[in-house]
Symmetry: C2
Subunit: 245 residues, 2 copies
DNA sequence: CGCCTCATTGAGTTCTGTCAATCCCAGTGG
DNA sequence: CCACTGGGATTGACAGAACTCAATGAGGCG
């Protein structure tokens, strides 16, 4: 499951998909990690309202950012994959307005805010890349607002799969036509604003239409073009172009 | 309509609700404005994909950030009020993945990226406040994901009103019990992921229940506590506490 | 005065949710 | 080796929320 033993490897892939990162910057990031922890599936990494002193980088596994309503309904606001900082924003906000939980077994690196502060003071370009990655999160969240607000149930599920597929490819843990996604249908429901029953029906339809199969924690994409068409998926919001420094 | 002739006045109120801002920082922000432009209601401020060289600060009016689907459905991802930067993130992203449009007549200040870069290099605390304001946008967007994904239609409308009420109070253009909101019901529909017909029905219900009235571009809140209860509105996500420097 | 946009309302439809039963399968213990 | 268990997946029948279509009303503006 852990493709790389280097905890910053996925992060570097993610950053290098968008910008040039020097070896010193890579080392600075590696050195910023104070500790690496493993979380069991279902465990809360950071609860809402907690004061945070570390930011957390996903090294392996899938982590969700979510909020619940009083009747118990849950909404996953973003799924974080290997290479994502789940709460870089905690560095400035100091407390979180949502929860962070491990959906699968997850390995998470802790980065003390103190070291982030040093980076912002001493390494402007690296600091800008970190800022950029919070903006990328925001762009992903904006797309989710569009998805949940206006796409049909089928499009929502398809869009989620398209996005996760591409994001996993970027960090090197997805094939062209298949990738591991060890989530339950309830997790997908919480991420798409649907019920698990309806997610099940939509998955069946996608399967019957020959677009994709989700089984045993693995997604197999049979027809990526048509899947993207159903999802109306346009990866522009993921900003996958190298920017000049 | 324009309460203050100082273009940065709403921004200063917004920042000072969360942090201490020095007079020099205030002046630096004022000096960062290169130009102020007026837009008619309905005008596009920045189209999707456009390369941006300026960030835009709303001085007066209401500006929306939105995306459309191919069938013409629109989703407003965030409403920006006086004091909000609509695309501070454009400073790093360089192009936008969404549109920015004026929903009402709007006055907008342009801030060249060059001057923002100088701020990030010379004024770390001010730079951090600007970064903070992009994180605040992200927090507002996360709350919208929850709203659209899991709240009922009635709760969505009520939540939007509660949020706008509080945000307008912060910048000093709302009373305790009333505020101007010159939007159409279609705008509210695009912001809540509903249809205008259904928004109309929800507004009627809120009115009949004695919670609030929306008429002639003005919201009158009759019972703020109950409205917040219906919306399950918790302002924690707006981070309205002064943070120690 | 007439036009145009927006608001309002009713009737009927469709999509998604709810409830509940059944199935599947991996893990456990006998 | 097999029965048992429990969490998820699947399916059907039904309910209900939100949408669509369409007509009417209200108000602002030239």
């Amino acid at each position: 499951m852990v493709a790389d033993t280097d905890p910053v490897a996925p992060l570097m892939r993610k950053l290098r998909a968008r910008d040039v990162v020097s070896a010193e910057e890579e080392n600075a990031l590696r050195d910023s990690i104070s500790e690496i922890r493993d979380f069991a599936a279902g465990r809360t990494v950071i609860g809402v309202g907690a004061n945070v002193t570390h930011s957390t980088l996903v090294v392996d596994g899938i982590v969700s950012r979510f909020k619940d309503l009083s009747d118990g309904q849950r909404q996953i606001q973003e799924l974080h994959l290997a290479g994502d900082f789940t709460d870089l924003h905690g560095f400035l906000l100091k407390r979180l307005d949502h929860n962070i939980g491990a959906l699968t077994r997850a390995r998470i690196a802790l980065v003390p805010h103190e070291r982030l502060r040093r980076i912002t003071e001493e390494q402007p370009h690296l600091a800008r890349m970190l800022w950029f990655s919070t903006l990328l999160d925001a762009a992903i969240q904006r797309e989710k607002i569009l998805t949940i607000g206006r796409r049909t149930a089928l499009g929502r599920v398809a869009h989620l799969v398209c996005e996760l597929h591409l994001r996993l490819e970027i960090v090197g843990i997805a094939d062209e036509s298949a990738f591991g996604l060890p989530l339950t249908q309830l997790d997908l429901a919480d991420a798409t604003g649907l019920t698990s029953v309806h997610v099940n029906r939509m998955l069946k339809q996608l399967r019957d239409d020959g677009l994709m199969t989700f089984r045993g924690g693995t997604v197999t994409v049979h027809d990526r073009d048509r899947l993207r068409k159903v999802a109306e998926f346009d990866p522009a919001y993921l900003y996958l172009e190298r920017r000049p420094r």
